[in-house]
Symmetry: none
Subunit: 211 residues, 2 copies
């Protein structure tokens, strides 16, 4: 049985050409091309596609939001994003929303059939530049791994409270130590973190995963 493919794209010409393109593949079946994703949940439920091709840039419900909606009702359904831009922002959003692949339209005509087969066998088809960008999203992490600023247990707990927006007074009350002691520790924290204000300390703490 042929693989049923559902396409979302607001561009009439693209829907046409995609239908033609997929028509030439005997194992792939273009079942519908829909110009907007307003009714994406019912579409998916009724048409039961095996793969969804989703334009990222549509009026009304955009592609990323559509992916989110699909994921709520069909967590495993492969969704391949189609887009003209390979900007980080959209790629990141789409992937967080649960897209399975990400292909640039300009390569779509040659890549789509194999991308569909790829995604069905557990792959994640991506245009080369997109793959590179995805890799860059992974924390460039502990390369020069961290002379991890070693804060004492007490310093860490104070830093945590600071991150939660506690004032010195509140921290003192919480930890049952004097207000001045809180300041004493916070000063030490500043020294170790090489910062000079609570906001910097909080920023660094979160970004460096100290809390």
């Amino acid at each position: 049985m042929a693989v049923k493919i559902l396409l979302y794209d607001d561009n009439e010409a693209l829907r046409q050409s995609m239908e033609t393109l997929l028509g030439e593949e005997p194992d792939l079946e273009f079942i519908a091309g829909i110009p907007n994703a307003e009714t994406v949940e019912t579409d998916v439920r009724e048409l039961k596609p095996d793969v969804v091709l989703m334009d990222i840039d549509m009026p009304g419900v955009n592609g990323v939001e559509a992916v989110r909606r699909i994921r709520r009702i069909a967590p495993q359904l492969p969704i391949i994003m189609l887009t003209v831009f390979d900007d980080n922002e959209n790629i990141f959003r789409a992937i967080c929303a649960g897209a399975s692949g990400y292909i640039l339209k300009r390569y779509a005509s040659i890549e789509i059939p194999s991308a569909i087969r790829n995604v069905l066998t557990g792959g994640a088809p991506m245009t080369g530049t997109v793959a590179r960008k995805v890799l860059q999203m992974i924390p460039p992490a502990n390369n020069s791994d961290q002379e991890k600023t070693d804060l004492s247990q007490k310093e860490i707990s104070i830093l945590q409270l600071l991150v939660q927006g506690f004032s010195y007074k509140m921290i003192a009350a919480q930890l049952k130590i004097s207000h001045d002691t809180v300041r004493f520790y916070i000063k030490k924290i500043y020294d170790k973190l090489h910062v000079h204000s609570a906001t910097e300390a909080v920023s660094k703490a979160i970004k460096d995963g100290l809390v």
Copy 2:
């Protein structure tokens, strides 16, 4: 001029077959196959490869560590990892270390030549299952985060400076607005974020990806 390729793999047979394989590609030149990565820095400096193929599982200096070392002296040199296992741990480590691609050995014979060309044109060649795993590493994040606190452009830029630890004065100077205006905006930010201090605002800004 042919693309110069340097291979690291402790398996003699694999080095042989890779040399044979690449010998059939006129645009690719196998310059060396080295069984261990002890001297990877000097190797790279002297042989000046255009692409490195790196086995991930070698005795002594392993592939991931080798990537780290190469990255210190050649941040841009494409490195494609070769491995028999597509376990998350290794993939993650290699990518964090700065690998450019990740290919399973069992597919290497058919994928390597195109992977090399891919990586040279800015791509990130990955075996399908690896690509899928890489996507899964991205935080499944803010699906339901929504009601995205919509800060104005100016509010965001002020928030960014705040996150960097700037004082009101510094922000005012930076943005060439009055000190009081900074406070005016920060108050609005607090309102929108439902916080009452700079530390809370910074914390929320970072955690919610507002900056």
